[in-house]
């Protein structure tokens, strides 16, 4: 019964948010872009709205949160009642406050990691595709070998060796993920490099940097941007998984993955509080995926 009810409420919220966000974007958009927003699917509109809300919460965290990030405010595991609207955790910290700070920490770290992986992976990937020959062979075989080890397993191995701090976490995940970005950037660029306009530019005598900057990158942007969204989801989920396993972001920093871990015992008593941070992770990933899916669909045009 509760399941059905929550499903109905969830769907209602989804349609309400999606619909109003689409209307808002349609109203704000400049005239020549209006049709894009008029026909965007509700899922994408919902996704954009959710992403905006997360960004807002993350930037304004200290202003919105009722208590301090690591502040112990009461007894442990208090039920949902004012002033602790979502109760307290096992150390007696306010759950709502930690959820809000989690947006800043978890999402921020995931974003920084993705950005790092992206810059490294895509530059190397494009360069390898353009150069071909031994540069491509050496880089690609090296990446192949690294990719033959499952990502999470490889991250665990590296974290064992280097220890678990936020900085090593970022570097390790970025390194593992850069291999995936490299693969995509290389294959996208390989499709572009065989084009006649690249041959023409080479025959004209253009240098490598200009070829990358003016001839390849503008044409590789669309798939790379979509990939950024997807990679962000992977990184975000990977960091959350590691934190959940107790190997990622450590307390007292508020982080959604470790919040689930710390309070997991509540679940067996039928208390859904530990599902809130897990749900917060899921919601953002869903939102990003919805937007990426829409973009990919638009890019593929009338293919289907």
């Amino acid at each position: 019964m509760t399941m059905l009810l929550s499903l109905i409420i969830g769907l209602g919220l989804f349609f309400a948010i999606g619909w109003s966000s689409r209307l808002a974007m349609h109203a704000v958009a400049p005239a020549q872009h209006k049709p894009i927003y008029r026909d965007m699917p509700l899922t994408a509109a919902f996704g954009i709205a959710v992403i905006l809300i997360y960004v807002l919460v993350a930037t304004l965290a200290p202003l919105i949160a009722p208590f301090g990030e690591g502040e112990v405010v009461g007894d442990q595991y208090l039920p949902w009642a004012a002033p602790y609207h979502l109760g307290t955790d096992k150390l007696g910290r306010d759950m709502l406050t930690r959820l809000i700070y989690g947006a800043r920490n978890t999402v921020g770290i995931a974003f920084a990691t993705t950005a790092l992986a992206f810059v490294v992976g895509s530059i190397l990937g494009i360069w390898a595709a353009l150069q071909g020959g031994w540069v491509d062979q050496v880089l690609s075989r090296f990446v192949d070998a690294l990719m033959a080890i499952p990502a999470l397993i490889f991250s665990l191995l590296l974290l064992t060796i280097f220890g678990t701090s936020v900085l090593t976490l970022i570097l390790v995940i970025a390194a593992v993920d850069a291999t995936r970005v490299y693969r995509l950037a290389r294959s996208v660029s390989q499709g572009i490099v065989v084009m006649d306009y690249i041959e023409a530019a080479r025959l004209r005598g253009e240098g490598t940097w200009r070829l990358i900057r003016r001839e390849i990158l503008p044409n590789a942007m669309a798939p790379l941007v979509a990939e950024f969204g997807l990679r962000f989801c992977f990184v975000f989920l990977a960091i959350s998984a590691l934190s959940f396993l107790g190997l990622g972001i450590k307390p007292p920093t508020a982080d959604w993955g470790s919040m689930v871990r710390e309070n997991a015992t509540l679940i067996t008593f039928g208390d859904i509080t530990p599902l809130l941070p897990a749900g917060a992770i899921a919601l953002l990933t869903v939102a990003v995926n919805f937007v990426v899916d829409w973009q990919l669909h638009r890019a593929s045009g009338l293919k289907e």
Binding site: L146, L156, I161, F244, L245, L247, V260, I267, L275, A278
Partner: protein, 317 residues
């Protein structure tokens, strides 16, 4: 036909080579550390004696190539060394747990592969219908869920009422039937996570082919939509679908770690997480190698299968 065998032999060799490189990476990763591994593992407060003991135990006094050789020859004989934390031989720790993890992975595969192929083909057949849109949105949603979220939701709804156990206690004496029953929730969690991916990729692989001129030709020959998909699209989609399945089964390996922790399932994943927490490097290396080997093997099988199903490669001019 000899071409095919030559190609398969080449793939096998390449697989072996990959495994060798992986063993190098897994072993060599410890060399990346700028300082002393023993001090890094034991912390600043360690005494010189304990450090020396650990160095001796890890063989850190030998040059790296010698250590690698000893480690590799040991591994090939099934000897992974001794766990630092428990002082037990690693092969003993790994033995039974490997079986449990394999059981869970195969269980999840048996549920997810048929389900996702069916859903994928149906979604491609009825593309842009309500069914397609709904299943696409559902799939996207479940792809986005962290494994532990899915697991806890299942616990909340299925274990709370006492239908299935939320913790898996498996011993050597547990019967097969009991195993199936007790491992149901972890297997279902993995199935939900993997099915979405596999279904979407199957659908994409088939739809990609539906744009081919030979599909239009089949339709213009008056063939029914079902026949067009099953007889004309699927045989050509086999290679991509096989790769999709392999990719997702390989993903199970990763998923297994988190799911085992949630359900306290006595498998390799749990062991690995404990070992990482204790920085028990020899155990982590051993398990990483096992997971990577499974991953390489899966990709190898997929490679060979997709070669065999490609008529252009099977029937040369």
């Amino acid at each position: 036909m000899t071409d095919i065998w030559r190609m398969i032999a080449r793939r096998l060799l390449l697989g072996l080579l990959t495994l060798f490189v992986i063993s190098l990476v897994i072993f060599g990763a410890t060399e990346l550390l700028p300082g002393d591994l023993a001090r890094e593992l034991l912390g600043q407060s360690a005494t010189e004696e304990t450090l020396a003991a650990l160095r001796e135990q890890l063989g850190l006094n030998d040059p790296a190539p010698v250590r690698y050789w000893n480690w590799l020859t040991g591994v090939l004989q099934g000897d992974f060394g001794v766990s630092m934390a428990t002082q037990k031989p690693i092969s003993e720790l790994v033995g039974a747990r490997l079986g449990n993890t394999l059981f869970l992975a195969l269980y999840a595969a048996a549920l997810s592969v048929p389900l996702s192929l069916l859903l994928g083909v149906l979604a491609a057949l009825w593309r842009n219908s309500i069914f397609d849109r709904a299943s696409n949105a559902m799939a996207l949603t479940s792809i986005s869920f962290p494994e532990f979220f899915v697991a806890y939701i299942l616990v909340l709804f299925l274990a709370q009422t006492g239908i299935f156990p939320s913790m898996v206690r498996i011993t050597a004496a547990t019967t097969f039937g009991d195993r199936i029953y007790m491992a149901f929730l972890p297997a279902l969690t993995l199935t939900l996570v993997v099915t979405a991916h596999m279904m979407r990729m199957t659908r994409a692989a088939i739809i990609n082919l539906l744009a081919s001129p030979y599909i239009e030709m089949a339709r213009l020959k008056g063939m029914s939509p079902l026949r067009v998909v099953l007889r004309h699209a699927v045989p050509n989609a086999l290679a991509p679908i096989i790769n999709v399945v392999a990719l997702n089964l390989a993903y199970l390996i990763t998923g297994v770690v988190v799911v085992e922790v949630v359900f306290v399932y006595p498998g390799l994943g749990q062991l690995m997480v404990d070992a990482v927490t204790n920085r028990d490097i020899a155990v982590v290396q051993a398990i990483a190698l096992i997971f990577a080997a499974a991953y390489v093997l899966l990709n190898l099988i997929a490679d060979v299968l997709s070669t065999i199903t490609n008529p252009r490669l099977m029937h040369r001019r």
